[in-house]
Amino acid sequence: MPGIPNFIFGKTKIPLLYKSMDAYSMRQRSIVNNIANVSTPGFRRTEVKFEEELKKALGKRGIKGYLTNPKHIPVGRPSIERVKPIPYMPKDDSLRSGLNNVDIDHEMAELAKNQIRYAYATRLMRDSFNKLRSSIRGEYVR
């Protein structure tokens, strides 16, 4: 998070939750776009890859390359700050709906899942802020 002192928020879940809320909002756009194009002939559905990227960044294995110059090419395990949601088109040429590869049942299920994930992330975010606030005030939490 730019501009915010890292020594407070860096110890909490907040930067991670910030990342995931960003990713879920991008995934929401991807799902919604697939639903809007459910009857468009020749449309290809998109997905957003995020969890795998995050897992790679959180993993302890592998070497890690540092970027000290903006022209550097990142190698190895990325740091959490550099994890980004990645939109892509899955290789799937089946015509599920007769017009394109959008399966409306699948999209609606993904929509529901994404909603729950987002609600979960916001709740964790709120709790993290509440705990931080309590510790600053010196209150006893539960």
């Binding site: 879920y24 991008m26 929401q28 756009r29 919604v32 809007a36 190698v75 980004k84 939109p87 409306i104």
Partner: protein, 165 residues
């Protein structure tokens, strides 16, 4: 970016709603004009078909390839380059009504010599509209509309969640 992102999710659903409503209007017009033998252009009414296309015209992958460097892994020991697919903000553009096409199939000829629009052989040209097809298309359009409404409500709910932080 988060809230703006969700606002544009609502906009994307709105393009879907507009498109499906246009389709419904065309279907309603087709059903209403099922027996219309006269039009301003002359001849019977022609069946209207709404053609959709994705909002993003350019091929997504070609844009990515043009804008970003891509490294390939040829053996397993190669380090992977994580940033080959940098996110583009505006790839989700919803759906657009490309055009409203008129059916070019020949009209349905019905023998009715007393009809004022009958030709010299006594045939009247009626629009080539099959009610069953129109009904099926109508149900499909109405379900797609509902799916878009559900998606829009989901985005709305997510924004309300974000306000509770």
């Amino acid at each position: 970016m988060t809230i703006r992102g969700l606002f544009s999710a609502i906009d994307i659903s709105a393009t879907g709603l507009t498109a499906q409503r246009t389709k419904m209007n065309a279907i309603a017009s087709n059903i209403a004009n099922k027996d219309a033998t006269r039009t301003e252009k002359g001849g019977p009414y022609r069946r209207k078909q709404v053609i959709f296309r994705p909002g993003e015209r350019a091929e997504f992958l070609t844009i990515l390839k043009k804008e970003h460097l891509k490294l390939k892994r040829t053996t397993k020991t190669h380090l992977d380059n994580e940033e080959t697919w940098v996110k583009r903000e505006n790839i989700f553009q919803g759906v657009k009504v490309d055009k409203i096409a008129e059916d070019t199939r020949p009209p349905r000829l019905v023998y009715d010599p007393d009809h004022p629009d009958a030709d010299e052989n006594g045939f009247v040209a009626y629009p080539n509209i099959d009610i069953v097809t129109e009904m099926v298309n109508m149900i499909a359009a109405s379900r797609a509309y509902e799916a878009n409404v559900t998606a829009m409500n989901a985005s709305k709910g997510m924004m309300m969640n974000a306000l509770e932080i």
